[in-house]
Amino acid sequence: MQAVTQVTTEFVKQYWAPLLCGFAIVAILPLIVGYVVLVERKIMADMQARLGPMRVGPHGLLQPIADAVKLLIKEDIIPEDADKLVFWLAPVLSVGAALLAMAGLAIGPAFQIAKDINIGILFVVGVSALGIFGIVLGGWASNSHYSLIGALRSSAQLVSYETAAGMALVSGLLFAGTLNVTSIVQAQYDQGIWFGLLAPVAFFTYLVASIAETNRAPFDLPEAESELVAGYMTEFSGFRWSLYFLAEYTNMIVVASVATTLFLGGWLRPFPRTHWLDFLDFLPMVLMTGIGIYGLLRVPKQPARVQQLFMLAVAGMCFAAAFVLAAPVLIPFFKSSLIAAVKPYHDGILGGFWFIFKVSLYIYFFMWLRFTLPRYRFDQLMRLGWHFLIPLSIINVLVIGVAMILGSHFHLEGWQLLLTTIPASVLALIIALFILNAEQKSEPQRASGDASDTYA
């Protein structure tokens, strides 16, 4: 008994900070995901000239809460012939992998659960890839044809696109020279340029592959509702279904964070070393105040008294956020002696803002694509992956390496490196298109229902 308490206290003493951060993420993430879903529905409504959810709370602001309550009290159905244990395990696996991957991310210079792990990006990519077992096993365990086909499609899709995504990451990592998340962002600060600009082809490849990996439209074949009902999650209902949903959106946040860290400069603001752009530090504060004022203006237009009060509360929260964001920027103006003391908070809060801002932009792009493009056919998806993206990313690694050697030979640094990497990227694109073209000529368009269509 004494040994147990000793081990427990030792554990808590050593790891209380990461444990706390972990609890925070597990507690807050479902809420964030709920609001991402609301934003998605609102954007979809806007693009389709509708209003979207408007009933619960002002402008539907409480809709995620209502949805969560509905999902929790829904009947939990397990099919008769399902493999009960695996059916129970599968959604948990999906969510667990997605949440675990969040541990390796650094949201701003201050907030990271697993501090400075040497394998950084690899950890995030590798662990989030485990979520596929949740999908495959869930599809198998439900003992349904739709589910099984959805699961098979999903695993084929993930295995093919993971290669492309991994090679794209390698091109970016060549510039960073390290896997550590913090050092990658620091390298972008030192070189004064985002790696997404140095390796645009790699960024593009990762963008497409990450959409495919998160099963988002136009690559959402594992859950193509017009052909497979809901794919691998056909038989899941209520809370289990919501776990899959949580995993999917968490994965979106994870891939967006990886892309932000490696290609979009992480928590650095645009042009972090140009001092006449320092006024950008005020942008977060101004933005939040603006949203708050807009909320205040909308208060009298709310139909019910409760909704008016809620809108007031939202505006108040925006002002509070603006205050928090303003404090580190404004305090040094009044007391210059405080600069050193305030510096860590300054970097932490503003860095967090920029990181979340970039992640939001990336996710907005996902949604935009979803409402714009029609779904791919399965053989088209495989063709795109194997015949175009994988050769493209491999060639890109090669030419980017050559470009870097040329760059160091001519002593190019930072922005000057663009002189070699841009022609290299164009070259990679041309070669890949040439390969794709040659492939299509040698192999005339096969009708669907052929060998490549086995799992469609």
Binding site: I119, I132, V159, L179
Partner: protein, 172 residues
């Protein structure tokens, strides 16, 4: 103390997973337990501060090979496999091999401390932040002292890959 508890936890999970892998009737359950065993082994790697090995184990074995395993399991007809007799043909060979392996491990444990430079190496405990960066060290040793084995392994994998492509092309 804490280190020991974590180590024995991972070891127990790995051994239990391995045993369940070979004793389950259902192939998918076997695959799940194999994944468990592999993940527990990865945990032990991590505890030994071999971070790179840990993530390679997860990405390659669990994320790559096991996904393909499960994929194939779902494509083949499982009912036949369930009815087949197991543990029949290679009983004695398996016993022989496992005895040889046990003898080897036992010899290594026995010779610890008896002769210099043999047996289990006892490393001095270095604090985590003083260790050299793991993946960089792996890369250095891989591309300097072990360059030839590395290249041979690469060529082997390339040959296997080309062979697979050729065989798949012939079928279609």
């Amino acid at each position: 103390m804490l280190d020991q508890v974590i180590f024995y936890l991972f070891s127990a999970v790995a051994v239990a997973g391995a045993i369940l892998t070979v004793t389950r009737r259902n192939v998918v359950h076997s695959a799940i337990f194999l994944i468990t065993a592999l993940l527990a082994t990865a945990g032990i790697f991590l505890q030994l501060r071999a971070e790179f090995l840990f993530i390679v184990q997860i990405i390659l074995y669990v994320g790559g090979i096991m996904v393909l395993f499960v994929f194939v399991i779902m494509l083949v007809n499982l009912d036949v496999a369930v009815r087949q007799l197991r543990f029949a043909r290679q009983k004695w060979v398996a016993l022989l091999i496992s005895l040889a392996l046990a003898a080897q491990v036992g010899l290594m444990l026995w010779s610890t401390g008896k002769m210099p430079g043999q047996g289990v190496p006892v490393l001095s405990a270095v604090p985590a932040d003083k260790l050299p960066p793991n993946s960089e060290e792996v890369a250095k040793s891989l591309f300097s002292s072990y360059l030839l084995p590395f290249e041979i392994a690469s060529v082997l994998l390339l040959v296997a890959m080309i062979g697979a492509v050729v065989m798949a092309k012939r079928r279609a």
